[in-house]
């Protein structure tokens, strides 16, 4: 387990403060300011002349395929182009009547957000915000879901749609490998006009504002990317409103992870409370059912008993009646039998008297 995860676990257990004070961070009130001393670039649209040297350099240092039209063919600037899996940066031309030759250019590439939406959206952590300011992509983790492309407010990540089984997401890397060697990004180095001001982000931001302030009227008084989506490493200063050089001015300043923090925060609460609520509902229902069942059972029992008793009573009654009837019958039978016996005796006696009239007569 990584040290960070371990400390986090300890922190979660409430011991973090005492064991590792350095790691203790309260989320509710913590403000993340990004990597100190990370690099940044300010693209100065007043300087860019649309020579496409940066595009050529980018293709060269990143070993990208050679495009159909050569880089010195400036007619492509007429179309509004975007980057693709084989191009990490493009220059686009925009009309600006006030500029020399009536044109202003904008260089499009990954802006390397301070809080990258691609990284925040990636479900396999394929994107990393590096301490040097670059946002890089690890193809060995990528599943190819393209949620990063949905999430990116700048439409930066591109995809190898022509690859059937091993497509990669492609985007500008800020020449992360070159930065590590102490070299400048390819495009920055190639620009004949130094239209890209490279340095520590904080420093180039300060210098950008210095340029704006010391040339009143030359620039729109805003550094695009200073606060957009929580700030980006690549920023733009422009002589005309940013919307007119193809930038979305309505992005807001909320960093991407903060946009989803609320929804993610609700997840554990649902997990924690739903079983309680549902268990409770279930409990209430079974209890009610049980109560109903019990009542029913008792009612049945009572009814049964009542019936039994009624039946018993009736039986008794019947028995008594039957007994009485039997007695009566018996009495009648006895009486009848007695009467018959008496009659028979009398008849016998009469018969006995016959041979001896005298007897019979005597018997009457």
């Amino acid at each position: 387990m990584k040290r960070r995860s371990f400390l986090g676990l300890v922190g979660a257990a409430g011991l973090g403060a005492s064991l590792a004070p350095a790691a203790a961070q309260a989320a509710g009130n913590t403000h993340f300011t990004g990597y100190k001393d990370s690099f940044g670039v300010v693209f100065d649209a007043t300087r860019c002349i649309g020579c496409r040297k940066c595009e050529a350099a980018c293709q060269k240092v990143n070993d990208l395929p050679t495009p159909k039209k050569p880089f010195d063919d400036l007619s492509v600037l007429q179309d509004h182009r975007r980057t693709d899996a084989k191009t990490y940066t493009v220059i686009n031309q925009f009309a600006n009547p006030a500029a020399p030759e009536g044109k202003t250019f904008h260089k499009f590439q990954c802006n390397h957000c301070n809080e990258p939406a691609c990284a925040s959206s990636c479900f396999v952590k394929a994107f990393t915000k590096n301490p040097d300011g670059s946002v890089t992509y690890d193809a060995s983790l990528c599943v190819g879901c393209r949620y990063c492309m949905v999430a990116c407010p700048f439409y930066v990540p591109t995809y190898e749609y022509d690859s059937a089984l091993v497509p990669k997401v492609q985007k500008c890397t800020f020449c992360h490998p070159r930065l590590e060697q102490g070299l400048l990004p390819g495009c920055v180095e190639a620009c004949p006009k130094e239209a890209m001001l490279f340095g520590k982000r904080e420093e180039v931001l300060r210098l950008a504002w210095e340029r704006i302030r010391s040339n009143p009227g030359k620039y729109v008084e805003h550094v695009y990317g200073e606060h957009e989506m929580g700030g980006t490493a690549w920023m733009v200063i422009s002589p005309i409103p940013f919307a007119q050089i193809g930038l979305n001015e309505g992005l807001g300043v909320t960093p991407a992870p903060a946009l989803t923090a609320g929804a993610l925060g609700a997840v554990p609460i649902v997990v924690g409370l739903w079983p309680v609520l549902l268990g409770g509902l279930y409990g209430i229902n079974t209890m009610r059912e049980r109560a109903v069942k019990k009542e029913k059972a008792e009612a049945v029992a009572a009814a049964k008993q009542e019936t039994q008793e009624a039946a018993n009573a009736k039986l008794q009654d019947e028995l008594k009646k039957a007994e009485a009837a039997a007695q009566k019958k018996m009495d009648a039978e006895i009486k009848k039998a007695v009467d018959e016996a008496v009659k028979a005796k009398v008849a016998e006696m009469e018969a006995a008297k016959g041979p001896s009239e005298g007897d019979q007569k005597e018997a009457d």
């Binding site: 960070r4 915000k129 929580g230 997990v271």
Partner: protein, 48 residues
């Protein structure tokens, strides 16, 4: 560089949500076990 502090909100969230997911697993298992513990004696008591 990795001193245990976070420079970006993203890093912080990956870390903290990771722990929260573990806690969620614990909650699901724990609530089940606790419910069993809670109701285990109901049967005998009901035999009045």
């Amino acid at each position: 560089m990795d001193t245990g502090t976070f420079h970006t909100l993203h890093d912080f969230m990956v870390h903290s949500k990771g722990i929260v997911y573990i806690i969620m697993g614990v909650i699901l298992a724990g609530s089940l076990i606790f419910w069993r513990f809670l109701t285990a004696r109901e049967k005998p008591i009901r035999k009045y």
